[in-house]
Amino acid sequence: MSHLTEEQLSALVDGALEGRARSEAERHLESCAACRQALAGLVEQESALRAALEHDPGEAYFESFAGRVGGRLRAAGLSGAQARPREGRTLADWFRSPRKLAWVAATAAVVAGAAIVVITSREWRLPALRDHDLRSRAAQEEPVEQPPVAGEALRATPAPAPQAKETAAAPPGEAGAPEAAKRQTPSGSPASLEAESPAESKVAPPAGARAPASRAYEVRRDAHGEDVPVRRPGNFIYRPPRSAPAPAAPGEPVRVQKQRYAEPMHVGKGSEALRGGARPAPADEATAPAAESPAAAPPVPAPAAPAPVAAEKEASPVQDALKARYEALAQERAKTDSAPLRGFLDAAKPSTLAGRSAALQTVAADPFEGQSTYTRTLARNARRLSALAERIHAPTAWDSAAAEWERVLEATVAGPLENETRYQIARARFMAWRGGVSEKRTSRVTAALDAFLARVTQGARHDEAGAWLAEVKK
């Protein structure tokens, strides 16, 4: 096996390697002095860094800390202004969040932009669509649809002369008649040509036309010889119904385009009634624009209203994910609320495992159980360092472990726990001394053993410590 990687060494320091990876790494450590040295260096760096980054400003500092935070809050005028419980929030609260407001604004802007684009393109498409529609409808003309009056007009204009054909129109004031006349005009006649292609009428204007081709209306002479203003084919302007909408006959096909085409102006109420049977009612006309292009976008006012709803829907997956996360955290916390279970979980955490035996020791008999979290954390860390030092047989690692146990001692009150801690210090100091004798280590191990033996005057540990002291003094 090649040397351990930096990541493996780092994970070993944290006790984060598990299973096969861990056993392989430990097997390698037993046979590789270079990796043991690298690991010991990393452990020592860790210990030194902890000391370098710690600072205690003193009890007085913390006693007044909350007061200073309160003063800062008052200075900022924040007293009580933050109360916004999550449950039962109103829509107004929802909009108070700048981020959500930004989402709503962005969504509304996109929708409004899309609506503008659609409306603009719809305006552009309209003439082409209408021409195409008109052409196809003109080709499929149905005589059934012609109104009775138009029929009269038709009968009045059978003249084969081009002028008569061109000027064929309804009687004055009769709606639908000119169109009906055109419908009945034989294909290829100037009138039908005009209907199909308004441009051609510019080239060869009809004899009866009195207005220039560019104008919206032209004047045509009807069968009675009277001039009637007629809308030009390419200049349709939608007008709302002028009279009260009449219900359309059920199943009646809507022929709005054809009806509008060349519709006479100033159509009186009487003529409305006359054409009522054949022509769809104004109500149909009003609904016609929407039916003209089914692929068109929804009406303009629609996008503004659903914007917040859309934003809410967009945010819901994120909120769901957050909710799930919070619930998972809450469950985890609930688990750790039980002290024995917490002890077990702490022991089972990868970062606190200094070895299987250490974990078992934590669960079975943790002398620090019941102490403050601070003390337990220190002790856990010290145990981890001791176990690590034992595995890699590095004196510097024992030094680090001893230093950590000394921290535990600082947080421990006198009694059995102090004796346990002092024993661990003495053991770590002795192991470090045995791994590499130096003046500093000798003085430290002597002091530690003396301190332990002064407190523990009998028992197996006393004898063990006495033997160590004798070895050091020898």
């Binding site: 930096e6 990541e7 060494l9 780092s10 994970a11 320091v13 944290d14 984060a16 260096g41 020592e44 760096q45 860790e46 030194a48 860094l49 902890r50 000391a51 370098a52 980054l53 710690e54 600072h55 205690d56 400003p57 500092y61 913390f62 800390f65 909350a66 200073r68 935070v69 309160g70 800062r72 809050l73 900022a76 924040l78 007293s79 009580g80 933050q82 109360a83 916004r84 419980p85 999550r86 957050l322 919070y326 619930e327 955290l329 809450a330 916390r333 609320d337 955490k349 990868p350 970062s351 403050s372 979290t373 601070y374 954390t377 220190l378 856990r380 860390n381 921290r407 600082e410 947080a411």
Partner: protein, 198 residues
């Protein structure tokens, strides 16, 4: 050197949630209790990330001010400490960016060095150790803010990989690799300053 407790005394089960709820309702006494419970670990993170008492004090206080402002959005039941340490880390990132644009020379480390000199047994030995710690702290300060944060949470706060991942909002795998890179980087920077390993 005497160290501040790694964690404040534990809150009773449900007590933390109750305090959060009360603080959300505008109860300043409840918020003051939260401050008292978490002031030490928050200060510890603040000091590790700033390495001078004045900045640490400012950052720790600001952490609680921000927490107070945002407590209405805090989800009751979520552990409070990772949330607080996340605020502290983010504030430290901001401070780091500001300092990068407009460097300052804090005098507190020098004062600290003078104040702490001669506390322990052997002055010469203590001075040497203090010197090494200062070099190490300098090397640590030269790391990227992300590396400083991950090392602080692991080494100073002794958080697990899961807790660090939750605090920093990154996957556990990222914590593992970032820690490894941070340690390697710290070692090389320390060696560049002292010519030896720590």
């Amino acid at each position: 050197m005497k160290t501040a407790p790694r964690r404040s005394p534990e809150l009773e089960p449900g007590r933390e949630a109750g305090l959060v709820r009360a603080a959300q309702g505008g109860d300043q006494a409840a918020f003051a209790e939260i401050v008292r419970h978490f002031q030490r670990p928050v200060y510890r993170v603040a000091y590790a990330l700033t390495r001078n008492p004045s900045d640490a004090d400012d950052l720790a206080q600001e952490t609680f001010v921000r927490a107070y402002q945002a407590i209405g959005r805090f989800r009751v039941g979520e552990p409070l400490y990772p949330w607080l340490s996340r605020i502290a880390v983010n504030l430290a990132y901001s401070l780091h960016r500001r300092r990068k644009r407009r460097p300052e020379t804090p005098i507190e480390p020098l004062v600290e060095a003078g104040r702490q000199f001669g506390v322990e047994d052997d002055p010469a030995e203590h001075a040497a150790e203090q010197e090494r710690h200062e070099r190490l702290a300098e090397a640590f300060g030269a790391l990227s803010p992300e590396h400083q944060a991950v090392l602080t949470l692991r080494v100073v706060e002794d958080l697990t990989y899961d807790e660090i991942a939750r605090t920093l909002g990154v996957p556990v795998g990222t914590v593992m690799s970032r820690l490894s890179r941070a340690r390697t980087e710290l070692r090389s920077r320390f060696r560049a300053r002292t010519g030896e390993g720590p």
